[in-house]
Symmetry: C2
Subunit: 125 residues, 2 copies
Amino acid sequence: MIELDFPKQGGLVTAVAQDADTGDVLMVAYMNEEAWRHTLATGKATYWSRSRSKLWVKGESSGNTQEVKEICVDCDDDTVLLKVVQHGGAACHEGYRSCFFRKVSGEELEVVGERLFDPKEVYGK
Amino acid sequence: MIELDFPKQGGLVTAVAQDADTGDVLMVAYMNEEAWRHTLATGKATYWSRSRSKLWVKGESSGNTQEVKEICVDCDDDTVLLKVVQHGGAACHEGYRSCFFRKVSGEELEVVGERLFDPKEVYGK
């Protein structure tokens, strides 16, 4: 079992999910030790939802799971990089491939990502 | 001025630095509002050092500055993605190109990154 530095950030490590093929950064989330163990055991990216205070197997609602191909750990043991296959195409709950679908353009944020699904149809809200 | 959600994480947003050319994820750090404004104003990646509790213009000690080419903001406004040119080649204080120089290999971490400098020679410790 690979030990990470969970105490440093109050029980959580930061997790970056990157598309294993294109290198696009898809999202950033957090893992507690249970989520880390679940990710290692299942090969499905699993996070700790800070807003819902529960284990979050990514894609359990939307079907957009993340199949983990490789995991790298940073020099401080407090951040992990998951190289994933993003099933369903979209990592973002707003229907975009990446959560980073807006870029800074002068004083504004410009939408640069393509919307792959309508969140109302997937989450019914 | 683009407003981020600093209150959500106690005054900090998470920042991922990605090589603008190769797509390699180089490091993850944190920004307070001052660091964010400094990054926008100067085009040099600037973080808040949590360990030293001070503004941290990346590379001010080592010369390995990060020239920001593009900034994306995530759907929650609490994480930014910086696409950078990593001057000096190495983002990691341990002398590797990326802080994510170790990958999970069974029960172990295997070093997969190439060391570009000896930290003792750069930081004198």
